[in-house]
Amino acid sequence: MMVRRNVLAGVVLLAIGLGYGVLTADLPDRTLPGTPGPAFLPWLITAGWLALSTALLVRGLLGGGKKSDVIEYHIPTQSWLALVGFAAYLLLLPTLGFIVASILFFAGLTWLYGERNKLLIALTAIIIPIVLFYLFAAGFQVLLPRGLWG
């Protein structure tokens, strides 16, 4: 599928800018007359955001910009898998704990990066999270979530 990046980005950013403007309108206006309140900068940001995203959209519609603005909209499967894996890792982290979740994530990501030596994957996936866990606990007083580890 071919997608014009500037057009798509312009539309999305315009929508976000409008949403930001709506939220800005709801901000309380606690200030003295003639002086800027908490909504002052957000209004300036809204104006700048809307103007610039409109400019980006118009530029995209008029076909301006680089030739590379028109690209094949393709993200490699490996990247999608890595992102989904990362999200799953973060969601499971509080339950499984740092060590268990990190071992699984590390092993998966190592495989995605193209490592096929199973022994190397297993050893590094186990050793690195455990070393990091105790390094941060003992050396830097950062207690990472223990979860299943105890």
Binding site: L27, G34, L41, G65, K66, L90, L109, I128, F136, P145
Partner: protein, 501 residues
């Protein structure tokens, strides 16, 4: 305590064994990080940052400065050895460095690079030492309108330099300002865009955003690329071959002078950074030296000029960071974050309230340049092997360190999730070819920008002429207009060029 006392105190702090050790370790790590294509110095510092939370501020900043200086040289090593610049700043070095390697003169190429980097770094250190206190003194006279305009200038300049499209550059900065507006406003403490979530009251932590924006796109971008291990063949480099000969030293004099001056000056401009300084110096050296025909085929001058320039940029970038609180490049933006974590706000007051610390930073920077040369000379063979560590293991380890780093900031999963969201934002920006650096600068400067804007307008009772009646403010705003107009014109020139091809 007088200036001499502060300088002496700073010197003593910088030569504490812990500070010296941290500087040396930082240089070693920096060279390795710089040598790994796909790893940036910013990412290296971001990954290391959580480890510095528990360290003394002097030791912490010495470690990070070492990494900054070492990273520049490391990037050049991979540019010379592999023809793959480890950092964008090293791209110009590859033009003449790699042809020399191909001719079997590896030691000569690396030796010239090391010495030129050392000279450039030392020159910028002198600039840092002599210019910073005077600039800080001048900046002390700035009032709220001047400070607002100065920060506005910093943002517009970085948009001009960092983006090929001025619209995308400015949009990136506006997105950054919108992110900064989340949380309590800096003047009255009113909650904005928090949706009732207490986690958002203190806003988005700068470093959480930084980790996500820089590290995740890099991790995803490196997927599918071949490991460099197979590409690296540790060449035979006798120590003697690293020492430049007298004729080479003579040939290096002019390009090193050009590179050092250009690098130190361009480093001070927010956003200009190493790549621009290196290419300008390379070009200027080519035009001014007699052996211009050799350029691109292994000219010594073609290595010396960009190498001295990209290392001189480091000291130059520290000048606006320390005196004005404005980062000269992404690395100094991260360094500001590191200082803030230790309760030290860079800016003119740093030289008043923590003058000894400010001078210790300058002296640590000096030591970083010394250690850089010593470590590179002594451990080159080992460093090349370290840099060839398989990416398949390195990248997952970095991914986990990103999670640990964000969690360690406030022991909160919220920060980890925010980091991931910023990673997605970074990927989207990469897809759109929108630069991240203006957003980063907006995150660093946004709060102060708003604070000074509102204080200035409150003082003038809403009269905006206050920004034009102050000479400094008027100057900064005029320069902002110039930088935006220049950016628009250069975008048009580029479009016309593309249309022509």
């Amino acid at each position: 305590m007088g200036v001499t006392g502060d300088v002496l105190q700073g010197f003593l702090q910088a030569i504490q064994p812990s500070s010296l050790m941290a500087t040396a370790v930082g240089c070693l790590l920096g060279i390795v990080v710089g040598m790994i294509p796909g790893m940036t110095i910013s990412s290296g510092i971001i990954i290391l940052l959580p480890l510095t939370f528990v360290l003394d501020p002097n030791v912490s900043i010495a470690l990070l400065l070492g990494l900054y200086v070492g990273g520049m040289l490391g990037g050049s090593f991979s540019a010379i050895l592999l023809n793959i610049p480890g950092t964008p700043s090293a791209a110009a070095t590859a033009l003449d460095g790699h042809p020399l390697v191909a001719r079997g003169e590896t030691g000569r190429a690396l030796g010239v690079a090391m010495l030129a980097s050392f000279a450039g770094g030392l020159f910028s250190c002198l600039c840092l030492f002599f210019i910073s206190p005077s600039l800080a003194d001048l900046a002390l006279s700035f009032r709220a309108p001047d400070l607002f305009s100065l920060m506005f200038l910093g943002l517009t300049i970085i948009c001009s330099f960092a983006a090929q499209s001025w619209i995308k550059g400015l949009l990136s900065a506006v997105i950054g300002l919108a992110i900064v507006s989340i949380g309590q406003d800096p003047v009255m403490g009113t909650a904005r865009f928090t949706f009732g979530d207490t986690n958002l009251l203190s806003g988005i932590h700068f470093l959480t955003a930084l980790i996500g924006l820089f590290a995740i796109p890099q991790l995803i971008g490196n997927l599918g690329k071949k490991t460099i291990a197979s590409a690296v063949r540790t060449p035979s480099i006798p120590f003697k071959s690293l020492l430049p000969t007298l004729p080479d030293l003579r040939r290096m004099r002019l390009p090193v002078t050009i590179g050092s001056i250009a690098g130190s000056f361009l480093g001070m401009l927010p956003g200009a950074g190493g790549p621009i300084a290196a290419f300008i110096s390379y070009d200027y050296a080519r035009k001014t030296t007699q052996s211009s025909d050799e350029f691109g085929k292994g000219a010594i001058e073609g290595i010396a000029a960009p190498e001295s320039a990209n290392n001189a940029v480091t000291g130059g970038a520290l000048i606006p960071m320390m005196t004005l609180g404005i980062p000269g490049d992404p690395v100094t933006a991260v360094l500001i974050g590191a200082l803030l974590i230790h309760g030290l706000a860079p800016g003119p007051l740093l030289f008043i309230e923590h003058a000894d610390f400010a001078y210790s930073v300058i002296f640590s920077f000096f030591w970083a340049n010394i250690f850089n040369l010593v470590i590179a000379l002594a451990g080159l063979r080992l460093l090349v092997k370290l840099a060839a560590a398989p990416r398949t293991i390195l990248m997952p380890a970095i991914a986990i360190l990103c999670v640990v780093g964000s969690y360690a900031l406030r022991n909160s999963f919220f920060d980890v999730y925010v980091m991931f969201c910023f990673g997605l934002l970074g990927l989207a920006m990469k897809w759109l070819d929108m630069p991240v650096v203006p957003l980063l600068l907006a995150l660093v400067l946004g709060q102060q920008l708003e604070e000074n804007l509102r204080i200035a307008l409150t003082g003038s009772q809403g009269d905006i002429s206050v920004f034009f009646t102050s000479p400094f403010s008027a100057l900064f705003l005029s320069l902002s207009v110039v930088s935006v107009v220049w950016s628009i014109q250069s975008t048009r020139r580029m479009q016309n060029k593309e249309a022509g091809t």
